[in-house]
Symmetry: C2
Subunit: 574 residues, 2 copies
């Protein structure tokens, strides 16, 4: 890392705000990752050691049987661990998928995913982070994103992203011999080191930013007043002095594609071309097709594969005029949810055709709670819990989640054990026989939940979760209790209310009314242990760099946006 | 009816408040019910005729096939229509039952009912009335309880109940040759004509009042401060002038039993005995045993049977000290829900043993939304919808409901069509070949939904429901839209908001913001039609009489309560 970048990183970490960044800096090359000896233990947060002290013996016994089970699978599977196929659906909280009865309440159906859920295990208590980027980072790295300063990113240029120093599941599995591919949403930064093909994926096709750019920062959305104050062609600029205020998605990079550790290329956009809702639809269709292509190509290889498909739909903007209405609900969101369900059904049946259904572990889940700001125009409505995307109430962080691994995971099972999205990192590494690739030099939050998957309910290994909103610790869950810290001011945690989530899933009736009885003190102790641990293993900066550097065919208008970005950085605002 | 009772009835209808009622009045004898010629049409509310005009042809075609199906069943079943077993669970709204995933959210399981739901049809859009009495009246009579002044009753003595002039499903099925029995909660009045064995049941075992008396109006509950201001032995009466203020459940009649048209007998209470939580538990166990006994006895007869079992649990008061904790939730309500689930499982497996599973149509459902006042001490929490018992938001009137009829109703099916509890009256009469017994001289709100049960989703015949709270029309549902009338002031309905229930099941974002576009006018027209229809078929009074007359073995303390009741009636308050 250059000295300048190192300084940037230090400043970022301190203030979470960018200052100057020279356009001249160069991005460092991808570092190789070492394998860690299996006998060096993974570094954990304090709370895990408390569980381990009480359960070590039972876990060791279970682990021995699990090792035998995994070895037997491998032997029967031509010496290979299972393929991994991870489908992460955007802004799907709890209740949208997997239940025809709940479908009915809102007037639509998701038969493909419902059937998939019946064929596998329903993880009824899956926690994510409260929005897209942090959940995806937690999955890829097995770490709460606060640890690598990836609690949030944005639509506009940012000049940062997932640091190269992070070790992703793609890297872990790749090092263990897997072929890897990523299709669809990524949303972990606009700098080269943060992109999937620089983070362990052999092939990646993805948009640089998120759907805000693609769905509502365009002319169609502005014309239909889905978005206001976006774009530069839908108002009279009589008084405009600063024409950079209004984002125009056509000037930002859209979808790119590339292979491992090589620069990427923007696809399907010509210089001067406008971005439209129709192009967004094409992009979605293309990712669906590419997911299917990858499935075929990867299945044809000798090595096991790790494929992830992160659709952009159901998130959408204005309705395309050619659309058919196929649900009683009729909302744009629900209609697209139904579309995605059909697409996923198509991929699952392709797996049957390819003969890889039985030796592939498939996870389908949402990435965070509902985007409640869309209620109720689109049918985008919270179910069961309170709050939605962006909040750390259960409505923001509880999602539908289903795992299928025929013959190993019991079909039709439901588990109420706690699970965090970061656990998938550690668990899938274990299942792939790649635990030695999990870093030993930093805290790993993800817990190995293989026992839960294979042995069923009550075999989970987690009874807590820390819920951060970007960089603020807003809530702490332990068993069925949840401390909600107003404003994330942890110095006031001793005064904070806590809730019984079984009796009060909507967090409306605090049970901590009598301070001094059994109140917040145990939670305060948890928080203290958590922050003490951070003193030894401090949070690290994000990857810093030049936005879009590493894209071969930048359009002139895009180059101009980068120049504006650096111009604004250099103004004497500080 | 005597002249005095007739005057009483007229006054009741006008003011909904009782005035004087002489202790000398005698109760009229049970009237016989006429059979109605099949070609005389059932009288409907206005809205139904609008649907009929548009769908008559399709419905007639369906009905012809249904008649053939029912005839074929009868022929294969020794010439008999199916038995009917109706299980109505108290204060169960939507989400508690039938889904292991939703179970998990709250930390318990209901495996028996979940399996039952899998074996039959889930009615995902079942509406009830907003509390116990009116829902039960709507089921028994096929009429909104506002029509017979049964929108509410109470724990204390009331001197009224379901009128003898009402025709119940038990009478309809009895006239068609069914043996009939009722076990458990009834809660439709304290006067003889209102009791199940005077309303068509050959045998009935039931408490006169509801669980308020049995669970919290007792010494155990008062001592544990579950209830405050109840009972007369748990405070210092230094300043007491009116010792009748505080209800003592030991002085009210508890459980009674009797046979058709004969006076009943209080069971398991001796003069001077106190009512306790342990006795409440015994009562629950007894009803469970009696339900099983009835199942055996009825199955042994030649005639088909109509059995209803309306458990008192899960509603409960203080925890009995001997109780085991069997769920992670641990709340009194949830523990009892699990107990009832096991009991119902026992009855269902008894049906298998008796060989009557295939020729019996079984309905299991809740009677109204959750009793949210109990949240969250008991784990009694609203799911998905807003509000609970006593409110006409969906949370008050949407319930879990499952129907099983092997070979005729598709196992594992889910229907999103609208259904109202009163529809069961008309539908079960049809299935039993007893439609000719449905009255033709009054409005029947219940719609024949046999086509929905046999043909599945989209074959429902209802697209509206009027939601009364006691005597006030508070909301009107049409398709997915719902008008909520503040305070039930229908003269302001044109200004009222309406909601899209698919997109906004919690009724938080009205879509009727632009009056004049398409607003409340169509709802106002519906309301006008509904009230015009009432001019021709006005609401009728309840059955009026002397409380407890018709109980053979009244205890002295109970006689004193009746005397106090009449004394208070005679005070010159008016």
């Amino acid at each position: 890392m250059t000295k300048l970048l190192r300084m940037e990183a230090a400043m970022f970490q301190k203030t979470r705000v960018f200052f100057s960044l020279s356009a001249a800096v160069s991005v460092i090359a991808t570092m190789g990752h070492q394998a860690f000896a299996q006998d060096v233990p993974i570094v954990r947060d304090a709370e895990y050691y408390i569980l381990e002290a009480q359960n070590a013996e039972r876990w060791a016994e279970e682990d021995q049987v699990i090792d035998e089970t995994l070895a037997a699978f491998k032997e029967a599977n031509e010496g290979k661990p299972p393929n991994v196929f991870y489908i992460l659906i955007d802004d799907i909280g709890f209740g949208d998928l997997g239940s025809e009865t709940l479908n009915s309440i809102r007037g639509y159906k998701t038969p493909s995913i419902n059937q998939f859920a019946d064929e596998g295990m329903r993880l009824a208590r899956m926690y994510t982070e409260p929005s897209c980027t942090p959940t995806r980072v937690a999955f890829m790295t097995g770490r709460h994103p606060v640890r690598n300063s990836m609690g949030n990113t944005q639509v506009e240029l940012a000049g940062f992203g997932l640091a190269d120093a992070e070790v992703t599941l793609a890297e872990v599995l790749s090092d263990a011999g897997y072929n890897t591919a990523h299709i669809g949403k990524w949303h972990m930064g606009d700098v080269r080191q943060s992109w999937p093909n620089f983070q362990g994926f052999d092939f990646a096709a993805f948009p640089i930013h998120q759907q805000g750019q693609l769905t509502i920062y365009n002319d169609d959305a502005a014309n239909e007043e889905v978005s206001i104050g976006i774009g530069d062609n839908n108002y009279d600029d009589l008084f405009t002095l600063d024409r950079w205020l209004r984002t125009d998605s056509a000037r930002l990079v859209t979808g790119v594609e590339g292979v491992r550790n090589k620069d990427v290329r923007e696809v399907h956009m010509e210089p001067g071309e406008r971005w439209t809702e129709a192009k967004y639809h094409e992009m979605n269709v293309r990712y669906q097709e590419q997911a299917k292509e990858q499935l075929r190509e990867l299945a044809a290889q000798d090595a096991p594969f790790f494929l992830q498909y992160w659709p952009l739909y159901p998130l959408t903007g204005p309705r395309t005029t050619t659309e058919e209405y196929t649900t009683p609900n009729g909302g744009t969101y629900v209609e697209k949810m139904k579309l995605v369900d059909g697409w996923i059904g198509d991929l699952l049946s392709e797996m049957e055709t390819l003969g890889i259904a039985d030796n592939t572990i498939v996870v389908i889940m949402g990435d965070n709670g509902h985007f409640t700001k869309y209620s109720p125009q689109s049918g985008y409505t919270p179910m069961v819990f309170r709050g939605g995307k962006g909040s750390t109430t259960e409505g923001g962080v509880r999602v539908d989640a289903f795992v299928r691994w025929p013959n190993l995971i019991e079909a039709g099972s439901v588990v109420g054990d706690m699970f965090h999205v970061s656990d998938l990192f550690t668990t899938l590494a274990r299942v792939a026989g790649a635990t030695s690739g999990v870093p030993r030099d930093r805290i790993i939050d993800g817990i190995d939940q293989t026992s839960l998957l294979l042995n069923g309910e009550s075999h989970g290994r987690r009874d807590y979760v820390f819920l951060y909103n970007i960089h603020k610790l807003e809530a702490v869950v332990k068993e069925q209790f949840k401390l909600a810290i107003p404003g994330g001011n942890i110095e006031n945690a001793i005064l904070a209310d806590f809730y019984d989530l079984y009796r009060d899933p909507q967090e409306r009736y605090p049970v901590s009314t009598e301070i001094g009885a059994w109140g917040s003190a145990k939670f305060v102790n948890m928080i203290q242990r958590h922050f003490q641990r951070k003193e030894k293993y401090p949070d690290s900066p994000p990857g810093i760099g030049v936005p879009y550097e590493g894209i071969i065919n930048l359009r002139p208008e895009t180059v101009a946006v980068v120049e504006e970005f650096f111009f604004m950085r250099q103004t004497p605002a500080r």
